[in-house]
Symmetry: D2
């Protein structure tokens, strides 16, 4: 988390009904529209990302509605459970956690079952390092002649991986503060399409806190219907400024470059990346398959004070995850890969060649995009 | 907001699945139990206080359930609207915004209508400076032989005014971070009784984010089922430490003393306090009735850089509110009353005598409790 | 100390030989010229104010030189001791600590003793609340036909009380960071006239660290000859910005207004201000004469958590000092005076009338200058 | 600079005459004795390290005294100039900037010239990465039968490289806050031996600000004779705590290990380290000789946002310096060396082999000392 953001959040809290607050409100709302690439409303909740998921569902759906979802990993599985708890019927497509949601399958299911009200997709699966192809899924929905809503979770991609709410005609995009936006947790986001707004008129799941209506109404004047997490909004303003200074295109290019260098290292080590489809490699993190993943993680934490992501759910113990998102640069990546390389060798993994050398070679060759 | 708290919240965010987090989790949960004076569970949400209201309702009630509520002011009115949006039937007792919820009326209604599932009370009405007598309301419920749940909003009293969740047999106490706890907004609380937990087994309003069950389960190990607002929990830990250092009894005595001094000033000025029942004076804020309330507020803001609370809802323009809660001491109160006294004189309010002198006289006479 | 300044000083330290540092250097040097009201050089030392005193002497004088100094209080006495330790001869004019340096006496001494090389004056005596009339002392030096240098200590007046280095033809003005500039201690200043620079060519007290020459030379490019206290310079930049935003004239008017209100309170209490000459009342602090000064200070500290200045040196136990400088406003002054009034009454001082009322009356009547 | 230290320095400034200050004073003085490894007094100045140099001279010497000094690099040269400006006679031993002060030469000069009053040595030359052998120099002085004082500059070694004021019988050790102590600049230190204290009784260079006497006297009660740089003392307290937590022995071992890994990288690249004597390799930084040093530095700064030290004085353009001191770990070193390796290749330096691989190999092999 960048120091600039931490410094921003500890400023004294202003009156959430005063004029300074309205300026802050307008500023962060405009910034978030830019980041979601939407001309429509963005709703900001004092909540975790899980709350923003719930908001996407309760604003658009009614008890018993059917939704299509894909087992792309741990977080997709959690989203399915939430939908069921709220009284929705989930059409669940099983998967091997190495691939994203399959556009062809989306089209096939929607054609065979026109009663499906929404398609739920996790853009970037944090547990696997696989990025679903959202634009193709939209095309598949259209090709199937379905008017199902497209609900997309960008919790770990927003601000790191190219994303276009309007261009891809997503209906609700769910985001949060604590990944690519480089903030502490505590803010959830919904970007909302015209169709989603229309659906919210008909939706009958009970809602009050999550109701888009009063918030969108109050946001016109820069306020919220209830007290906002003002200090986190300070941090959001600063994070938006940082993304603008670097330029979103440059931010995305930087993440892609670091992901490519990481994969070059994994290949040089003779190991395998979890993501099985090269169109779906995540630019935000890379999961690496290895037998002794937890031993490696433990050694690297103890000896080099670096924390790698663990395998979640069915991947427990079988992968480690290298994050390369947020406030990150070439030499931080290089240090990270040096740590992994030493960790592999120190735990006796037979390492084919120098992953660090392969990564440096790529970083040298490919200049940072401008 | 105390500097100590602001400094606490800007520390780097720790891993919400790591061992340090569990220590933080256990610590703030234990502290909140102490503040609510309960031996039962406290649930902490990344949300505003409004979210914690919603949580109290969706965990205990089912669609169409009837609840009893009192028009004690602006926030009670908002809570009623929320209950209706969620599909509950509200039995609404009108009021003049100068008194708390009436225990006699509670008993009478519950006797005449045994179908009522819950009684909703705002402990301290921020809009009026009136504190409802929760212990007496509990007695009234019991006297009526009702098993209605007692749901109490302590959003602006928690950590400022004496409150006893267990002793008063409250079923759900709703709180938040941004008033007496001296934190930025962004955390909501539910203290939960055995009866409330039992009710949650039967309650059929859909719930997922607000569901007590998974959180209470995860809290056993010091974690949360989804990402917490870690940096605000840092602030909460610090605020709990500050309250412990001063001692809760001393904190409450300090607030009462400042409220008494403020009322002495209002009386000396020849003005009237909004609260019409002397058993119900708020220790956290005092609302003062005066014709030109907004003119006074404007002058004091512009000339003395002090912001007084405005009249809300039906009180708009007819009262100003003096807050004396949180991190506040005798000389800050004295400076505040000096500002009000000058503001009254400068806007031509005929002032009977020196309110400042009356307040100082009381502060001198009554030593701070220890 | 304003929060803005504290936040500024904790930013990561930049390279003191890099280009960003030069921008910082130019900025604070320009700002300090503005505050000293000089077109000549200002030298900034990593040192306390005492170091800046030493710098004024070693840059302008030679062993055995004679200087004229006045016993205006505790700090003047310390300055005398320093001059003697450095090998200067001090012509010491005794005083009663209730008056500033006497211009008539300056003229008389210089006429009778043309060998005097410098006159040392403390502009605002922190120990007494007396402000010497520097412009009149300059006139006296000129009237005496002396070419003695005029060295003035503005340690507790700079940024609080009107001061004009060039207009008053002061030769070296000594200042520091921790009073009117609202910074932590750690920076010392010398504003330097043409005559002082010329004197530095002849001065033979050994000097290296304090030598103006290399610093003024390096400052041309925005640097220092040795490592600067970079983080304190960050704070200085912020403090300069705050003084500019308010406007130096407004800052001075605010201090005068608060001093006048404080004296009105002292008079209403029936007590006596230490400063015996009404042309010399300090705008930064007011010393009040009272028998039980330390008892009052102790009670106010313990009961109201407010620290008043103690009597120093020969005034020990006989005065308390009320500071009204720096980041201070009407209601903070009002709270301060309320604390003093309660402290007087609680220790049994017979109080003639309400000092608070007298002060509020003045504050109401006299609007803040713009 | 560690975040912990920056956070420490922005706390509100306490009264430098109050009881809390005395606790702070005692604490930092005890900590500094531990770091200098002395049972004698340590004097802390609000000053840069240059000021602490001046203090060492003016407290122990008299005008015209002769001192022996060695041309070990840029900072030794600056110290010589200071001594001359203060009126001392410097016996200057020329050098090639690749070696430390020569103990044999010390003995020889002192034998031939018994009038020398002091030997001035820079422990770690920041400009060259050469560490003089202080213990051997002390033996040489003793062997020569001289009672010359030994004055040592540890500005860039204190807290990074093993140093023992008492054991090595150093008379004055000069230090500062901004290198191994990981603080912003603004504090200077003198550790003082019995012999140095005795010399200060005889020394006749004029002194006041730098005078050890009043400070050592005031320090007994935890205070200073003039206002200290309180906020920097907060940072010092935190830095001392960090050094204690890691353990000084571990801190030194870590620096040595990183220096060895850096030299392994330089050797693998086929380049030459500036330091020509393997007994004198600095553990805090490594200077590397290369024709296009400034081109490399510029590219690495622009492309990888990493600032390497420039060649100073006669080394300008001919070396770059890799710092590995302070708050630094294995992966930060690895990232640094990756940046240098890419920089070398991108500027066309013929690189013999992978320096990174050589460094990682050493870091893997040699576990961190405990």
């Amino acid at each position: 988390m960048p120091d600039r953001v931490l410094r921003a959040i500890d400023a004294p809290t202003i009156d959430h009904r005063g004029p300074d607050f309205a300026a802050l409100g307008h500023e962060v709302l405009a910034g978030m529209s830019e980041i979601f690439r939407t001309g429509g409303p963005v709703v900001i909740y004092p909540s975790s990302g899980t709350g923003a998921w719930e908001a996407a569902l309760v604003n658009t759906l009614s008890p018993g509605d059917r939704v299509l979802a894909f087992e792309t990993g741990h977080f997709a599985t959690l989203w399915r459970a939430m939908a069921e708890r709220l009284g929705l019927e989930v059409d669940w497509v099983e998967g091997d956690w190495r691939r994203g949601a399959d556009p062809d399958r989306v089209a096939a299911v929607l054609r065979s079952d026109p009663s499906i009200s929404a398609v739920m997709v996790v853009h970037n699966e944090t547990s696997t390092g696989v990025t679903s192809r959202v634009a193709e899924i939209r095309e598949a929905i259209d090709a199937a002649g379905s008017d199902a809503l497209l609900l997309v979770d960008t919790i770990s991609s927003l601000g790191s991986i190219d994303y276009r709410h309007d261009e891809w005609a997503v209906d609700v995009t769910v985001g949060c503060s604590q990944k690519g936006l480089m903030l502490p947790a505590g803010l959830g986001f919904n970007a909302v399409s015209e169709n989603a707004l229309a659906a919210s008129e008909r939706a009958r799941l009970p809602r009050s806190y999550w109701d888009w209506g009063p918030t969108i109404e109050a946001n016109r004047a820069g306020y919220w219907p209830y007290t906002s997490a003002t200090n986190l909004l300070y941090g959001l303003r600063e994070a938006i400024a940082m993304l603008r200074e670097e330029g979103l295109e440059n931010v995305f290019a930087r993440h892609q470059r670091h992901a490519a260098a990481t994969r070059a290292a994994v290949e040089a080590w003779g190991l395998e990346v979890l993501c099985a489809d090269e169109r779906e490699h995540s630019a935000a993190l890379t999961a690496v398959m290895v037998e002794n993943a937890d031993e490696i993680r433990k050694l690297i934490l103890e000896r080099f004070d670096m924390s790698l992501g663990a395998g979640l759910g069915r991947l427990a113990g079988r992968v480690f995850r290298i994050g390369h998102l947020g406030d990150f640069n070439d030499l931080m990546l290089a240090g990270t890969l040096c740590g992994v390389e030493m960790g592999l060798r120190l735990t006796g993994v037979p390492v084919a060649g120098s992953g660090v050398e392969a990564a440096l070679s790529l970083l040298e060759r490919e200049p940072v995009a401008v």
